[in-house]
């Protein structure tokens, strides 16, 4: 337990000491929110900003999670991982520490996006609705960061990792329900969107903002996170260089 907190603290200190990284992570989602959310002329909803905000929140978490995989990649390339693996601290703490840091950082970023959305005209929700939104984002963050960190453990170098990151982040985003509802999608896209884990998170957040309680998507996300986390922890326990 102490190991997890220690690993997490290290990443947080390093992150807060590099100002560029803090700001740059916010630019892309904010750009989407402002330039697409405010500008796109759509007919299926009166307030497109309210429609797209859940999608952007989940996207922020997705890119925070995927770019978080580079943390482990650099630990590996620079030789830190070898040192960590030779420590008596349980090796799964390395993974859990990374997940907590990446998800925590993602939640900070989504909070800022949420504030920007409110400032440019999104509808204010109740505290319970925000609580549920954070729960969904947390589960989704755990799922993505566990996956990204474990992939980074297996890839050879940073170039392969960034190629992997580009390869999956854009298709995942565009084949999800982030930009439009299933009803206006072409059928083939709707089918893919229904299978996309990103859609579960987005639909759940959208459900919350509409005043519902998304039992099913939350359960699916929870189950997925538990399965992925269990596999990843097993991988980390057995890892050799």
């Amino acid at each position: 337990m102490k190991g997890i907190v220690t690993y997490m603290k290290r990443d947080f200190i390093k992150w807060t000491r590099s100002k560029v990284a803090v700001i740059s992570a916010l630019v892309m989602p904010a750009a989407w929110l402002i330039f697409v959310g405010l500008a796109l002329p759509v007919k299926f909803t009166g307030n497109y900003l309210d429609f797209i905000t859940p999608g952007i929140l989940v996207m922020t978490m997705l890119s925070a999670g995927l770019s978080g995989g580079t943390l482990l990649m650099f630990d590996k390339i620079l030789g830190f991982l070898n040192k960590f693996l030779a420590l008596p601290t349980p090796r799964s703490s390395i993974l859990i520490g990374k997940i907590l840091f990446i998800t925590g950082r993602g939640l900070i970023q989504t909070t800022i996006i949420l504030v920007i959305a409110l400032l440019i005209g999104a509808t204010l929700l109740s505290p319970v609705q925000y609580g549920l939104t954070y729960l969904v984002l947390l589960l989704f963050g755990i799922l993505i960061s566990a996956f990204a960190t474990t992939i980074a453990l297996y890839l050879d170098d940073h170039d392969s990792y960034s190629a992997f990151n580009t390869m999956i982040s854009m298709p995942l985003f565009f084949t999800s329900s982030a930009l439009m509802p299933y009803s206006v999608m072409p059928t083939w896209l709707a089918t893919i969107a229904h299978l996309n884990p990103l859609s579960y998170a987005i639909d759940a957040v959208r459900d919350v903002t509409a005043g519902g309680f998304p039992t099913m998507p939350i359960l699916v996300l929870l189950l997925l996170s538990i399965v992925v986390l269990t596999i990843c922890m097993q991988v980390f326990r057995k890892v050799t260089v």
Partner: protein, 318 residues
Amino acid sequence: MNAIETTDLTKYYGDLCAVDHLTLSVNNEIFALLGPNGSGKTTTVLMLTTLLNPTEGSAKVCGHDVTREGEEVRKKLSYVPQDMAVDIKLTGRENVRFFADLYGVSHASDCVDEVLEVMELTDRADDLIKTYSGGMRRRLELAQALVHEPSVLFLDEPTIGLDVAARKKIWEHIRGLRKKGMTIFVTTHYMDEADQFCDRVGIISKGKINALGSPAELKARLMKDVITVRVDGTCTPPSVEGVIFVGRNGNEVSFTAENGSEALPVLADSLARSGVTIRAMSLREPTLDDVFLQAVGPQEEPHGFEDGKFRVMLRRRK
């Protein structure tokens, strides 16, 4: 119980045999594994530190098996890899504290102060690592490794890329640790350092240990000292125990001896007694370089194995 015991330890990368049935025991000493690039030094260390599973054979650190009791083994050892990995955005104290917390050291802040003091880093402890020199970074890594008082310390090329003064300082610290009862296992390329500072060395080539013993022993075993005497006039070679007459070339007479520096005065006395006028005497001791070259033989670069693994190995040793 020896600190490190290996029995037929073997590692294959695809078809390449990186470590070939290595049997070794090391206890409370500074043991250096010497060998050319690609000879299996780092692979051996990785197996002993539980980062790599052996293909065959077994190894024990402080009585615990490295494959079955990994966690117990990791409690006993500290490992400093070849590439210097310290967080440059953290201060020296934060870097060491980080490891103290990971090891679960009690009274962490006192322990951190103590190792920083031992490594002579107290003055700069609160500066960011960005401002540290290479030698200081290496000492900081040693401080990190020592904060939990390990029984066995593994150092992979501890002095690579450091200047002479920094190297000497690192070795002085390592010697100090040995005196406290720690077992230190180092790999190095620098023969002079191994000769000067290590209790025992093993010369490894193509995964096999070709020579094992104290530096002095190895030098004596593999090659005798050469004594050359310049004389005036005739000279009847005297019979001195342990000294063998080699031959005469002009007015230079050569002898070899097991231990040249001890044999030299005896030989000088003996020659003087038999009435030979000695003009000069010289003694050339074989160096560990000679031993190394003899043990290792002509080298080829390793080839014929998986490209992927090769790139990983290259990256590790840069």
